[in-house]
Symmetry: C2
Subunit: 218 residues, 2 copies
Amino acid sequence: MSIAAYYPIFDKLTPDEQQLLQNSAVRRTVPAGMLLHNGSEECMGLLLICSGQLRAYITSDEGREITLYRLFDRDICLLSASCVMSDIRFALMITAEKETDLWVIPPYIYKALMERSAVAANYSNALMSSRFTDVMWLLEQIMWKSMDKRLAAFLLEESTLEGTQSLKITHEQIANHMGTAREVVTRMLKYFQTENMVTLTRGTIHITDPDKLETLAE
Amino acid sequence: MSIAAYYPIFDKLTPDEQQLLQNSAVRRTVPAGMLLHNGSEECMGLLLICSGQLRAYITSDEGREITLYRLFDRDICLLSASCVMSDIRFALMITAEKETDLWVIPPYIYKALMERSAVAANYSNALMSSRFTDVMWLLEQIMWKSMDKRLAAFLLEESTLEGTQSLKITHEQIANHMGTAREVVTRMLKYFQTENMVTLTRGTIHITDPDKLETLAE
């Protein structure tokens, strides 16, 4: 499908602007694990996700991580074009969590489009508002919600994303999503096991009582 | 001074748009302590601060608070116009911390301006990027920085803002800025006192060794 199908405001652009996008956008497939954006060092541009999964996160000087949000089919990744937004002054990392098929609008093209089109600029605003909302949701979780509730919610989310109750994920990976230490995750999972919500085997967390996890997460 | 002096892109707008702003913007003085924005319940519009101090914060169901950022002379408060941005889905509170003199651009006027002017829409984008950056900075502080360093930084910031080393602020107020419990602040301040960085008297925190606090904050 053409880029028109993945950029919701395509029909509202002028024929010139549509032509510009169609001529400059590049279709790419990136492998799972690929780093797409690394603070200020990379600037791929606007990414329109056809299928796949991206993860946006930040890291500490000591190498700790926390996931800010994830993007899925038909989502648009704005902050991979952060170089064209001079007031974005934080270093975000974006990786492909699964093989991802996407349209790339190069940064200088996207900048030119925003400068001439109020529609495109307002749509950028809407995208930024969505990501800002994601981060505010995360901040509220961190501030007001205990780690056990956050972990329960994370396991249920992973289960939905992967379509299975047997999660192949390490305690270290979970810690990096949640911005905590591996030991904290291990201790909490053992507690979940004693409460009969999960069973732990090497490399796998099996959710045995999703309803009980759900109740905890709420 | 007219609104032109407080809206940095005023000169880049068309004469019609400039006229629209000049005819619709209202100059107001709000008293210290006044709640200007309360989640989705109020929508004052874009606020251009001539002089004064605003505080943006969020609250938990249990009434805990954390300060997201503050705005000062010549800053622009965008999220008080959040009703015109449909993808902002978080409940922010904004209060005047000091008597504040400001220009108010009503939300429907601001929406109309953004829709017709790419310049205005891109400037909205820049404002949102700045606030997003403020929140990311806070998130990083919360995630990677210990409470003693955050408290040291807060005391120094307050001292700069108020132009004094004798801070008239309660432990409860500090806790509400930092998103923690009063007891945590009290305990930490007592530790700072034993380390000869502050002296505590009823209602006042006196900074006795700003350099030592500075070293701690870094």
